[in-house]
């Protein structure tokens, strides 16, 4: 798997510009750009140099500990890991089907996670770029600037996220790193009081989510030249869809489409994901490059996340989100949307769907039921897949006869998008950097492209714009020609 600008033909005489670190949640990453003496771009790479090690140190631990331990991979969407692991371990305890109460409480937890994560990403982290402009005054390009100029927007973002966190707290016991899901079910259901507390605010959350979709939709309509082309590249799509082909973020089967929207595969049981997905290792990144085996390494890379899911499903079960899905598809036209900024629009459609699902679940009597856990014939291997806020999340475990984990394989959402993010960064470098001097605004263009994917490698997206950056230009002898840095509080140096 290689692409234009991945590897320069003659790197020896080129200048190297490094954005290092791209501050991240889960370790370290950087962007390197090789330029010639006329500032023409010859090579761009997004390097993920994190190393987590969870797959190794979960080995030898009892399986029932796994959902609580592996969620510590992440402080942003731990619920996704918690649920993916629990789904995988359902097979170990022989729970082919959960009780209605267990499944609905897990779904409620998951939709709470989707709501809070999408709200955080859009309002707190990306709205400054979208509302003020990518190269606007850096001092105001943050959530505080949004709060000053658009106070109601900022307030809604904060309260939407808070509501999602409360849903998680009531289903998992804590807002972050709870224990609600256990192999075979859940350890608690919603109490009547908890349900009523959430019901008080859910209608407001649905309304605000709908407004958020309108807001991002208007941005697209107002400036289609930018939104349809910024960092755009063509790629395959993959996501899980429900067994009926509808959007389902909790359970279903795998579906893929090519860059023209034609079906590549459908109805794939995720237990067989290893037949579908291979992982390539490149010597310049610690993150693997997944690809669809039937298409091979060169052509098999793909995108996951909201833009894949919304364009991959046949329909959305909740009415308001379905109206917005149709509007998005109509805007895109015959061909799928490929521009990374389309992620924001689709992300907000999903947030609306999550809010509607929470409303429906709160009105379902099963949510307060008492039948929590099922077990059956003991298994020794399990795969759990969930559509996390950032995309398809795969957990795979083997457990021995003494109940200890012997193998763990995790493919997280950001890993699926590795090649896609590299492509987006390359397009932006071509579109905006090629032949120009380096400026802070340029740095932010690259960040905007990475940010659109909401990768879990970015304090860029998860530290309120306080992403420290350093860019240095070296000559072929390694001597620094110029240097630009931005501190965590946005000060250029």
């Amino acid at each position: 798997m290689s692409s234009l600008l991945e590897t320069a033909a003659h790197p020896e005489n080129l200048r190297r510009v490094a954005i290092d670190p791209i501050s991240r949640v889960e370790g370290h990453g950087k962007v390197t750009i090789l330029l010639d003496d006329k500032n023409r771009v010859h090579q761009v790479r997004l390097h993920i140099v994190e190393f987590r090690g969870f797959e190794k140190f979960i080995q030898g631990r009892p399986y029932w500990e796994v959902p609580v331990m592996v969620q510590r991979l992440c402080g942003i969407c731990p619920v996704s890991h918690h649920l993916a692991a629990s789904k995988a371990l359902d097979a170990i305890v022989g729970a082919k089907y959960l009780t209605p109460t267990a499944e609905k409480n897990r779904r409620l937890m998951h939709y709470g996670q989707i709501l809070q994560s999408h709200a955080l990403h859009f309002f707190h982290l990306c709205s400054p770029d979208l509302l003020f402009g990518f190269d606007s005054d850096v001092a105001k390009r943050n959530i505080v600037g949004v709060a000053e100029k658009y106070p109601e927007t900022a307030r809604r973002g904060i309260l939407l996220r808070k509501f999602g966190q409360e849903v998680i707290r009531h289903t998992a016991g804590k807002r972050v790193h709870g224990t609600g899901a256990v192999p075979g079910g859940v350890n608690k259901s919603l109490s009547i009081a908890e349900r009523d507390e959430l019901l008080r605010d859910i209608y407001q959350m649905v309304a605000w989510s709908r407004d958020a979709v309108q807001m991002v939709k208007e941005l697209h309509h107002r400036n289609p030249a930018l939104y349809n082309s910024f960092g755009a590249f063509r790629a395959n799509f993959m996501s899980m869809v429900g067994f009926d082909g509808g959007l389902d973020l909790y359970h279903g089967q795998l579906r893929g489409r090519d860059e023209n929207g034609n079906m590549l595969f459908d109805g794939v049981d995720y237990q067989n994901y290893t037949d579908l997905i291979g992982e390539e290792v490149k010597n310049w990144s610690y993150m693997k490059f997944p690809y669809l085996k039937p298409l091979g390494k060169e052509k098999g890379w793909y995108r996951v996340g909201p833009m894949s899911r919304i364009q991959n499903c046949d329909f959305i079960s909740t009415p308001l989100a379905e109206i917005e899905r149709r509007a998005f598809i109509a805007y895109s036209g015959v061909m799928p949307m490929h521009a990374p900024l389309g992620y924001h629009w689709t992300r907000m459609i999903e947030m609306l769907h999550a809010a509607e699902m929470i409303k429906d679940l709160l009105h379902n009597d099963d949510i307060t039921g008492s039948d929590l856990i099922v077990t059956g014939e003991r298994g020794f291997e399990g795969v759990g897949v969930i559509e996390a806020p950032r995309g398809t999340l795969i957990h795979h475990y083997r457990v021995d006869e003494n109940d200890l984990v012997t193998m763990c394989n995790l493919i997280v959402s950001t890993t699926h998008n590795n090649q896609a993010m590299n492509e987006a960064v390359r397009r932006v470098a071509q579109q905006y950097l090629h032949g120009h001097e380096i400026t802070e605004g340029l740095l932010n263009h690259i960040e905007v492209a990475v940010r659109a994917f909401d990768p879990c490698l970015s304090c860029a997206t998860h530290a309120l714009g306080k992403m420290p950056l350093e860019v240095e230009v070296l000559n072929e002898a390694g001597e620094r020609l110029s240097f630009l840095s931005r501190t965590g509080d946005g000060v250029l140096g």
Binding site: P62, W64, E65, P67, V68, R72, K174, T179, D403
Partner: protein, 259 residues
């Protein structure tokens, strides 16, 4: 001397009645006064090894679980000096083993964790040892996670004194001390251990665990979620040994929740 006179000692300014033969901690617990402790369990003969229950009796430091109360004794327990020492002991216990509370199923019901909270321990302070201690998952229904052993010997005492089995023992000396089981193979499955044993239910931390229970108890319902350990004198469900002259004031003794 008046035979009917109630013998008492003073604990942090409070008068504590006691009966002949009672230790300081027994009398304090009977009076509803909490003295931090780990290896003490009123159901078993005191061991005096963890030193967390150390108090200053008539100006001299002593283990309150082994020191018999004496009439008129002046005892200090809840003082800054003693609590600082208790905190240091707890910190040493944390760094000697591998105590990863975030993913430990005993979290919320663990006496070590609860006592550390009680003592205001905010960090381990010392460098972690990170010892290599493999699990023993050989038994079909119980798991031994030696990473969390604090060498309290409660399982040793329960197996020996109640179960009559001697399944557990402490081996080695000093920093090499460790828990072993009574089988040539070294595996719990090859001992006479049973889930019915008293020893299966006395571990104050997360070493002896019933398999496949995990996180079945939700956050909010665990032993120390509602109230701190100081309000739950002995979570094993045992009552203090000896007469309880002030039993009416005793807080309830909740049991560690077991599934």
């Amino acid at each position: 001397m008046n035979q009917n006179k109630q013998t008492t000692f003073t604990l942090d300014g409070k008068t504590i009645p006691f009966s002949p033969g009672q230790t300081l901690i027994q009398a304090a617990m009977a009076a509803g006064v909490y003295i931090p402790h780990l290896c003490f369990n009123p159901e078993f003969k005191p061991h005096g090894s963890c030193k967390v229950c150390t108090v200053k009796a008539d100006g001299r430091q002593t283990s309150s679980c082994t020191h018999q109360a004496q009439d008129g004794m002046m005892v200090e327990s809840n003082t800054r000096e003693i609590n600082d020492e208790r905190r240091a002991l707890l910190q040493m216990l944390f760094v000697e083993g591998n105590h990863f509370c975030p993913s430990c199923e005993k979290s919320g019901s663990c006496q070590l964790q609860a006592t550390a909270y009680e003592m205001g321990m905010m960090s381990p302070h010392f460098d972690h040892f990170f010892p290599d201690r493999p699990l023993d998952a050989s038994h079909p229904d119980y798991l031994l996670d030696f990473n969390r052993c604090i060498l309290c010997s409660l399982c040793v005492r329960a197996s020996r004194d109640v179960d009559g089995k001697n399944v557990f023992a402490l081996s080695g000396r000093g920093i090499e001390s460790h828990l072993i089981v009574n089988a040539k193979s070294g595996r719990l499955a090859d001992t006479g251990f049973s889930g019915e044993d008293k020893a299966a239910h006395v571990c104050p931390v997360g070493v002896i665990l019933k398999k496949r229970v995990g996180f079945a108890i939700p956050i909010g319902s665990r032993s120390f979620d509602e109230q701190p350990i100081s309000a739950t004198p002995h979570p094993q469900g045992a009552c203090p040994v000896g007469p309880r002259s002030n039993a009416a004031t005793l807080p309830p003794h909740p049991t560690v929740k077991d599934v």
